[in-house]
Symmetry: C2
Subunit: 316 residues, 2 copies
């Protein structure tokens, strides 16, 4: 054991997905249960590419918390930084599936999500410093004590590559948009990579034009800005002026949720491998498309060979 | 339309039941979704016996709230007193099934259950006064404004038969046991019928011996006390000295949850019919046993003929 390739930090929960698509939640009769939460899914996705991954998160002290540990073990993600918080239930999340582009989420993260109870003094700072990638998300900044913990973890990296902030902006977790922008700004001072879709970039840096958003993120000091443009593909710009774009991969979308996390785990894999930027972005883009074409999220993360095959098919 | 036979008041939510029994919630892969909440289930059970039933409750302003209306309509329960409360999610409840006697519940009723937002000034007092039965539950007393609303509804009855308090004591909804006993005491001043299991009787009147519990409830002024003794059957005692006991009905228990609500709906039916006490209790006892032998709760409420058939079979 020489440390982790990827340590993610943030949300975990139980996702309950309709076993019937194309109908409202009021008409769904049965649900399948999956491991969920963005940071957790990214760790799972990275592990599928053979990366040693761990997630720093918190569950309730309840049966769904035990499920989280069981599921992480099944996916080969280290659970040593996952603990239970008494008195707070493990969050559950329902979604509706209206392909191709409408997947509303209903979060049960009350009275407070345990993953917002991560404390700075509980962090394994040597492991965080030594990890190939630290992957943080904006949701961890929405309240204390996880805000200080997230900033502490980011600070421990001393701006070493690869220190990622996933902009992952969910308005319902924030008191105001200004608060979100303020703490995104603080976090960006420590990050070397920023990843977000257009709405998230707008919330973080006030720009929704892809190129302007990427430049604004670079202006904040990151060395790589990755802007997910939804149906228009992905744009990545680095501080040396490198630029890569990936066109959307034509797939039949079943469930768009989790595609961004598949993208994230694959991005970790490509960046750790030291591939050139265009290859990294193409690979991550294809991984996201594969998960969008499947019902599940964590359970649907593709292995490296599957992603490579899709990249080749698209290029052909 | 000449008014309702039964108006219940209290909890509603979405029950998510494991499609695999005998395993912990950490091992359950799929769930079925049912209408739930004790007061709601009692209304459904009464409707199955042909009674005109309505439930006074509140949902979130969300898809699961729409499901509640759809499900009530399907069961023939009037939904005119069901409204959505913006900002509060419709509660969801998970359970574990360890037959025959262990069915833990995991409530997601945060930040506050909408059904605790029922307000006194929203009540249809003429309808409550005119109903054959008003069925209230102790959970409605656990906080404001539903506490005042519940006491107002009870008070509107002016101790007319049949005014029921279901002791339905769930410790997690209360700040302390003393608080629960205090408000149970207030509510009992307005009730003419009290129903509870041994643990609930102990919480409400400090007695867990069946006969002493029944007497204590009668001392508080109710005219009928019904004590559910679990595996030992049911005891009912009235103010005129009448006494009836029903022995447990031997069934293979699948899910004990909802059996008490089936009992309640059948109790309503028998009391409204004016049957003698022994027949009422036997009928309600058999209805509870039928639901205990089935996975679902609201969806498993028996029709009158099914209950009669089991009563005859037990007597034979």
């Amino acid at each position: 054991m020489t440390g982790f390739d990827v340590i993610t930090m943030g949300r975990v929960g139980v996702d309950l997905y309709p076993l019937q698509a194309g109908v409202g939640l009021d008409e769904v009769d049965t649900f399948a249960r999956f491991l969920g939460g963005s940071a957790t899914n990214v760790a799972v996705a990275a592990a599928r590419h053979g990366r040693r991954a761990a997630v720093i998160t918190r569950t309730g002290a309840d049966p769904f918390g035990r499920f989280v540990h069981r599921a992480l073990a099944g996916y080969g993600v280290d659970d040593r930084y996952v603990a239970g918080v008494p008195g707070l239930p493990t969050p559950v999340t329902f979604c509706e599936l209206f392909p191709p582009d409408d997947f509303p989420l209903y979060f049960y993260r009350f009275p407070k999500a345990p993953d917002l109870e991560i404390r700075a003094d509980e962090l394994d700072r040597p492991a965080i410093e030594a990890a190939g990638i630290l992957w943080t998300t904006m949701t961890g900044l929405c309240t204390e004590p996880s805000r200080t913990a997230t900033l502490t973890a980011l600070g421990a990296r001393r701006r070493a590559d690869l220190t990622v902030l996933d902009l992952d902006y969910r308005p319902m977790f924030w008191e105001s948009r200004d608060e979100a922008a303020r703490w995104a700004g603080e976090a960006l001072e420590h990050a070397t990579v920023a990843v977000g879709n257009l709405a998230e970039c707008e919330a973080a840096v006030g720009e929704s034009d892809p190129m302007r958003a990427a430049r604004a993120l670079l202006d904040r000091g990151v060395r790589l800005a990755v802007v997910k443009r939804g149906p228009a593909g992905v744009l990545a710009v680095d501080a040396e002026g490198g630029l890569a774009e990936a066109a959307p991969v034509p797939v039949e979308v079943v469930n768009g949720l989790g595609a961004g996390d598949a993208f994230g785990g694959a991005l970790c894999h490509g960046l750790l491998a030291g591939w050139e930027l265009a290859r990294v972005i193409e690979f991550a883009n294809a991984a996201g498309a594969i998960v969008a074409s499947r019902l599940a999220c964590s359970a649907a993360m593709p292995a490296t060979g599957e992603v490579d095959a899709l990249v080749r098919k698209v290029a052909a």
